[in-house]
């Protein structure tokens, strides 16, 4: 019984600790508007302690359909939700890249079929935020992954990055 209680305590301690380090430090709104419809997606987390290795898969990506030749507007906001810590030199990275199929993984290298890629660096004190608004014309049919992500926000062995993404399907 004592042994079980110890195990339970250890588990609860681990859960509390894990919950603390995996708390969301950034909120993301990524909004993509086509001529007829739009989608808004929000932050997920990824990083050294990638949840997929613990049996939790990333959420299925939302899909926005447009016609080839349409112009879309991409708006994003990335804000620190930390209560006291400053995240220094965070790289805020956005890209739109053609992928093989809906839901497919991000390409390992952004060296081909990249329609748009942006990056900025910033220190995030509590409540600091950055915003972007971009126009993009998608000329060719295909499936495109649009992804906003942090690079360098993961600190320590249990640190993690944040991202929001969706699939854009041009018919």
């Amino acid at each position: 019984m004592v042994h079980q209680a110890r195990i339970l305590s250890a588990f609860l301690f681990w859960l509390a600790a894990f919950g603390e380090v995996r708390a969301d430090h950034f909120a993301i709104d990524l909004e993509v508007k086509g001529p007829k419809a739009g989608r808004t997606v929000h932050a997920e987390t990824a990083g050294p302690a990638d949840l997929s290795t613990l049996g939790t898969k990333p959420k299925p990506r939302e899909v926005l359909e447009i016609q080839a030749g349409d112009k879309i507007i991409i708006k994003w906001t990335l804000a620190s939700t930390a209560s006291k810590d400053t995240a220094k030199d965070v790289l805020v990275h956005f890209y739109a890249v053609k992928i093989a199929k809906q839901g497919g993984p991000p390409p390992p290298k952004l060296d081909k079929d990249v329609l748009l890629e942006t990056a900025l660096t910033m220190d995030f004190k509590p409540k600091d935020k950055t915003e972007g608004e971009l126009s993009l014309q998608v000329d060719k049919p295909g499936v495109y992954l649009l992804r906003l992500e942090t690079i360098g926000a993961a600190v320590g062995a249990d640190g993690h990055e944040h991202f929001a993404n969706l699939d854009l399907v041009a018919r």
Binding site: K112, L115, L116, A119, T121, E131, G132, S135, Q137, D139
Partner: protein, 169 residues
Amino acid sequence: MRYFWLAGLLMLTLLAATARAEHANITLRIIRIDPETGKDKDEASTTLVVQEPPGENVDQRTQFKVKAGEPLALQFILTNTYPHGEKPDVRIRYFVVREAKLKQKNLPDLNEGVVIQGRFTLNYKPKCRVGARQLLSIKDPGIYLLRVQTENTDSDHEHFSAIDIVVEK
């Protein structure tokens, strides 16, 4: 007495030069893309950073000729070289917009004739960087301005770099 005035003048000149020192480095490129391979072919680029005011000597503006509908990419990297602390909510804006003539001095209206545009709002700390690379093509022949600029830097001037794109049939 003459030397006192000269020293004062030199001091003022030095102070003015310091006050108007460049606060941003910008590398701006417009690149022709090989439609078969998707690779970069040739390009025009500029590292000329203009303060506004006073504004630009338009004769120094780089030009690049392309064909209508030709695949292109724009690319820029802007680095904040202002060393004295962070400035909140600075905007970095880039755009390709139609202009009436080559070397146009006045900025075109951004409510019409815009091919693409983007803007970022961020806390602008020393040495921070903003960059973008975007594919585009310009369907209609004419003269277009590619420009990246700072806004809202709480300064008496802003910075920009610009290239004229001549789109032929």
